[in-house]
Subunit: 215 residues, 2 copies
Amino acid sequence: MREAFHGDLKQLGRQLATMCESAAAAMRDATRALLAADLRLAEQVLSADAELDVKRTECEEQAYSLLALQAPVARDLRIVLAATYCAQKIERMGDLAAHIADTARFTHPEHAVPAELADAFTELGEVAAGMADRLAALVVAPVAGAFAELEEIDTRVDRLHAAVLARISAADFPHGPQTAASLALVARFYERFGDQAVSVAKRLDFAATGETPTI
Amino acid sequence: MREAFHGDLKQLGRQLATMCESAAAAMRDATRALLAADLRLAEQVLSADAELDVKRTECEEQAYSLLALQAPVARDLRIVLAATYCAQKIERMGDLAAHIADTARFTHPEHAVPAELADAFTELGEVAAGMADRLAALVVAPVAGAFAELEEIDTRVDRLHAAVLARISAADFPHGPQTAASLALVARFYERFGDQAVSVAKRLDFAATGETPTI
């Protein structure tokens, strides 16, 4: 019984890893679609998002049934609850990638990102997707200090986000208010993607130790 | 034992109601601070937000201990899990109100919102705070159809949000890219506040029935 339960927990971890991989792929494709004004790719990201929503519901149902049938306590209880929490956050990461793809779709055939900001958004996409890659490994094989590690990576996202905001808010920004408004939102989608990834890592540390990690 | 457990669930509902009341107050004060460029009020909202974070942690700990000690099943299990979910969403509503206050603080002594958009933001603040008021009642005395009810109110938030975005994206918007970028973000904070409120209502319906509500 106990062994079966731990097998179920491992299975939950693998489901979360698959979700992280989907979120990473969505982020990479959304960024490519945004920078290349690629309508077909943007639409792919948008339709793939529904799968992540389904996977989140499956994780949650699996966690419910473990709680109802096994009534876990202590660390096992924290792990099951963390799985529902993380599934929700990873689904949100997918939503944010989909919002980026939606901006690409909305501005097509125009480019949403002016050439002068292409490098910054390319890097935002790489760093953010890399965070989801790292979580895919951590949810199946947690290591101590996941929160500190992801928080460190997230400082790069925050720096890039701040640089983009500073540029589009400059008095000499030549691309007009519509582009400024659109890019403020897109940059925020990257920033929030990073924040969700950090909160997943934080919850993994909490599940392992019962202590809220600080850095 | 069973009676004590249901007393504990009621207590959890009251904690959530207090959180909703704080989120409603934060939204009202943040909107006043934003429209009046009131630095002191903005700072009050920002410092009050920490209390909501503490209350969320208390709700979560209370829910953990009910799960560990009582191992509820079926509807009782759904209600306990819904409480942790709702606590997190209501805390996020507080964060979003705090972001609005932060914009007021950042732009002080300037006004963040041009006069021509003051009515739209006033209404956004009223409707959003009203959603939190309604949730405060629903978490202690759930009624069927909460999701449909909040979703209906949220269409007003969505319409106002779309109108603000259209205005700041217009070629003749005279307040420059910085204001456009800032208002795109502020308008989104209201829209997300509404979304969180809808998701709380949806989860309350699910907790009551075990069915995900649709409209």
